[in-house]
Amino acid sequence: MIKLRDVEKVYESGAGKTWVLRRINLDIADGDFITIMGPSGAGKSTLMGIIGMLDGAWKGEYHLLENAVHKLDNRRRVELHKKYIGFVFQQYHLLDNLTVAENLDLPLSYRDIKKAEREGMVADILDRFQIVGKKALFPNQLSGGQQQLVAVARAVIGKPKLILADEPTGSLHSSQGKMIMDLLKKLNQDGTTIIQVTHNDAWAAYGNRIIQLADGWIVDGASKAGAV
């Protein structure tokens, strides 16, 4: 599903170049549940940003489902992102001024789906995540776990093939964290590819492969066979 070849990310400053990612070579198959781990500053979030096409300034080759992302302009990358990718963040990142239902509707509206269809999709996801009773509430009226639940619901509402979860349980206590991880596992079992970033070994165990990053290098887990 994903093939990264010699992907590099560098920041240039007056003091010289700072490498954030170095020669990343990575293959991820359809249906994988990948965990990326590593210390702070290892480049985990940067790698997520590149895979999620939120970061455009990098070098190398990136193939997503037969699409050569590195050859696409920004507009086409946005299209690809909208079609295949859902994001979950540590800080939930729901929009405070929108209700739960509106937050769920937002990614659909960016996909130019008609209103009637969107309403149906939002109703389905509310039902599926058992948050129908919360649909009119604003994020600040929900607990952290509930907010993250909505964030996951928002990530999956567009039926993405890939979910990128950047420390999805980082702000939750353990019982809420487990609920979210179970949910991600369920989604993975239903066929969605998942890449998560976590510092927690227990949550890492939910995945089928762990990739270790350090100082911008993949030090372990680049392929099922090990580091490249």
Binding site: F89, Y110, G158
Partner: protein, 812 residues
């Protein structure tokens, strides 16, 4: 469309969450947009719609014969008829003259202004009376043979209570019976922009309306204004060429009655002479341009507010990007928010405009002509305001929207809430906007300073007479049925009575008031003077009574004033001004010289000091005074120099008049001081409005610089904390922050001064007594703005001094 509505709904919600920001932005924009919509409402009511009720006014032109736009000369009836019969350039050519008329008969006696008009008047203008009819061609044929009148809608309502059976009733005008044949539509008030007339009477009735000789058969009597509708496909230039040709033929045919310059000039209605547009077309475009700068300034201010505010919205925008929003979609959403703000500003601006549009009329001082500037907030004003609002929203919204949507969402989403990395770019843009604001503000303040100084100069200007403590009051004898002999006797008896009133120091009668809207001139030949080829011998003139110069305090250089003994049976005499003597009789003794006018020789008995007659900025011009007891005027203005407040003498003067004739209306009671303010009306309007714009600019600049310095100081609190932890004193921090502000201020002032040097030259035509690059104004205004801007920096600088390094570092 549906997502657009969604963005719109979200915009309302976002703005409701930030009521203070929304209120400040909407108010700022409302003031900027309101300034523009107000000035546009004036342009719309004058330059764009010069004749309310008449469509396609761009097809019409006004014509003058000789003279200038400021002091134009009308046409004789016979010249008009010749031009009308021979022209092919015009599909219609109308002639008219505006006069005061006394209404008697039904109801209370009343003095109104009416129009003597050619019979094709309503047909050419395309005005259809709402009751009855307009004039018929037959009513243009026999002098005295068409005693019919079309009345205004207003008169119909006020005097006849809107009675539909008014047609056919008799109205006594100037003691003569006229049959009412029509009622004009409510919107139509005549053909002179800014003047309202209530009656329309055929030209053939001029002898019943205007005192004096029968003007119809006299080619030398120039009294008719001409207005023509260009034939389809004919340009103004082509019509001008034809009129030049036709007028030359007429002059060659009748040289004796066409002395001087007889060149025909065609004016579009938006800058027609004899109307308010003569003044408006100079003033209003300048005001509109300045209001445009005010709006730009308001936009820069709101753009800065949006930029500052976008910091707190970075997370939201990053989330939107991360869940699939394209940059264009985000820019669109942010622009919709801007347009919602500017539309709210536009709505408020409409209310402001409804209140301010009538203000211009209040600046017109009392005068003896029926000024009726009826400014309306109509559909055109609404649409232009709407368009300005939308445009403003895009102008101030686009930069912040582009900047806000240009981010790396991953980085932003990993930041702690409230962190503001990336603020440096924003601060740079903000600083650039503040520099723009300061430079635009400086230009506005310089313009305001120039106009205010100009107005003060106009107020202080010595026009050659003393306007203080002079009461003016008018009466008109012809409409009251007086013959010339009875009128002269009335003038004489009244003067004797007024002179004895306690507190009256000096009193005189005159046909005019200087520096007003009206002027008179006559073709005259100074004895012994041989005119240059094509030199106009049309000389400005006023008819005045005994003691006029003394009452006006115009110095008499030589000779004597007129006396009550200068009558129709004595030698015709005249007083000329110094310029007249210097121009026509250089190095000669002017006293005793003669001037040929009206078919008689007038002997010069006095030389008056030059004064200003038509405007404050005029160069001295030859001027001729004729005695009122020889050159009879039935409509006369009393000039009474008194002790104390002139208006306190109004009752006494009325009483004196009514002891001679209890029914004679006294009107236009005012003071000379007020009436001559007409001359400085432009300066007063510009001074007031541009002054207000300047004040607004000053406030906006102060708020803008305060906002940016406060914002960047907050951004730099970490840096300031480090500096203080490393040993920086409070004074160092103060200097750091103030220095940042000072750099922006100096850059803004430098650009603003350069801009002002270039742009103020366009104000030159409206300024009076002050140069367009007046150093005092430039330096004074720059210093004022500098002080205010530094004060705006002072508050955040003081706040920065109190930064606790531990708190600042922990926060970060």
């Amino acid at each position: 469309m549906e997502t657009l509505l969604q963005d719109l709904r979200y915009s309302f919600r976002v703005l409701r969450k930030s009521p203070s920001f929304a209120a400040i932005a909407v108010l700022t924009l409302a003031l900027g947009i309101g300034a523009n919509s107000t000035i546009f409402s004036w342009i719309n009511s004058t330059l764009l719609n010069p004749i309310p009720g008449v469509r396609h006014t761009s097809d019409f032109v006004v014509m003058t014969e000789g003279g200038t736009a400021r002091s134009p000369i009308p046409f004789s009836y016979l010249d008009y008829m010749d031009l009308r019969n021979r022209t092919r350039s015009f599909s219609g050519l109308i002639a008219y003259d505006i006069n005061p008329m006394n209404l008697t008969g039904t109801g209370k006696p009343e003095r109104v202004w009416g129009t003597l008009a050619s019979a094709n008047y309503f047909d050419v203008l395309g005005i259809h009376p709402i009751l009855g009819r307009g004039f018929l061609p037959v009513e243009d044929q026999k002098p005295g043979g068409a005693p019919v009148v079309v009345i205004s809608y207003r008169l119909w309502q006020i005097r006849f209570g809107g009675d539909p059976s008014v047609i056919g009733r008799t109205l006594r005008i100037d003691q003569h019976p006229f049959t009412i044949i029509g009622v004009a539509p409510a919107v139509f008030q005549g053909t002179q922009t800014g003047m309202r007339t209530e009656l329309w009477v055929p030209l053939m009735m001029q002898q019943q309306i205007v005192s004096g000789t029968d003007r119809l058969p006299l080619r030398s009597e120039t009294w008719l204004m001409l207005l023509g509708q260009l034939a389809p496909g004919v340009t103004r230039g082509q019509a001008q060429a034809e009129m030049d040709l036709l007028m030359n033929q007429i002059v060659e045919q009748f040289p004796d009655s066409h002395l001087g310059n007889n060149a025909v000039t065609l004016y579009p209605l938006w800058r027609a002479p004899f109307s308010a547009n003569t003044y408006m077309y100079v003033l209003l475009p300048v005001l509109m341009a300045i209001a445009g700068v005010v709006l730009l300034l308001a936009c820069a201010n709101v753009a800065n507010l949006m930029l500052v505010r976008s910091v707190s919205r970075r997370r939201e925008i990053a989330i939107r990007l991360s869940i699939g929003a394209s940059r264009w979609r985000l820019v669109r959403q942010l622009l919709i928010e801007s347009v919602v703000l500017s539309s709210a500003g536009g709505i408020l601006a409409m209310f402001i405009t409804a209140w301010t549009t009538g203000m211009l009329g209040q600046f017109i001082p009392p005068t003896n002509i029926p000024i009726a500037l009826d400014f309306q907030v109509d559909r055109a004003v609404f649409f232009v305001t709407f368009a300005i609002s939308i445009l403003s929203g895009v102008i101030f919204g686009i930069l912040p929207a582009l900047r806000a949507s240009d981010m790396a969402p991953v980085t932003v989403l990993k930041e702690d809430a409230g962190s503001a990395a990336g603020g440096l770019h924003r601060a740079r843009l903000s600083s650039a906007l503040v520099v723009t604001q300061i430079s635009l503000s400086l230009f506005l303040l310089v313009s305001a300073g120039l106009f205010i100084r100009s107005f003060r100069q106009a107020q202080r200007f010595n026009a050659g007479f003393n306007p203080d403590h002079v009461l003016l009051a008018s009466y008109s004898l012809f409409p009251a049925g007086y013959t010339e002999a009875r009128g002269l006797e009335f003038h004489r008896q009244l003067l004797a009575k007024l002179e004895t009133l306690p507190g009256v120091q000096s009193v005189a009668l005159a046909s005019w008031v200087p520096l007003g809207y009206v002027s008179d001139s006559l073709p005259a030949s100074p004895e012994g003077y041989v005119p240059q080829p094509h030199e106009s011998m049309e000389i400005a003139e006023a008819t005045v009574g005994p003691n006029y110069l003394r009452t006006m305090q115009i110095p008499l250089i030589a000779g004597r004033e007129f006396t009550v003994n200068d009558t129709g049976t004595s030698q015709p005499v005249a007083i000329v001004n110094q310029k007249f003597a210097d121009r026509y009789w250089p190095h000669q003794e002017p006293l005793g010289k003669r001037i040929y006018a009206y078919g008689v020789w007038f002997t010069v008995v006095g030389i008056a000091h030059n004064s200003n007659y038509y405007s404050l900025s005029e160069v001295p011009q030859p001027f001729l005074y004729l005695p009122i007891f020889q050159d009879y005027y039935s409509t006369t203005i009393i000039h009474a120099r008194v002790l104390g407040d002139p208006l306190a003498y109004t009752t006494a003067v009325e009483k004196a008049i009514h002891t001679l004739d209890a029914d004679l209306p006294v009107y236009d009671e005012s003071t000379l001081k007020l009436r001559v303010q007409v001359a400085s009306t432009g300066q007063r309007i510009a001074g007031t409005f541009v002054g207000a714009f300047g004040l607004l600019a000053l406030i906006l600049a102060a708020v803008g610089i305060y906002g940016v310095i406060a914002y960047t100081t907050r951004q730099r609190s970490h840096e300031i904390g480090i500096r203080m932890a490393l040993g920086a004193q409070q004074s160092d921090v103060f200097r750091l922050v103030l220095g940042q502000g000072l750099r922006m201020i100096l850059a803004g002032l430098a650009i603003g001064l350069a801009l002002s040097f270039v742009l103020t030259r366009f104000l030159r035509n409206i300024l009076f007594g002050v140069g367009a690059t007046d150093a005092l104004t430039f330096v004074g205004v720059a210093m004022l703005l500098c002080v205010v801007a530094l004060l705006a920096c002072y508050i955040p600088a003081r706040r920065a001094m109190r930064v606790d390094p531990m708190v600042a570092l922990r926060y970060e």
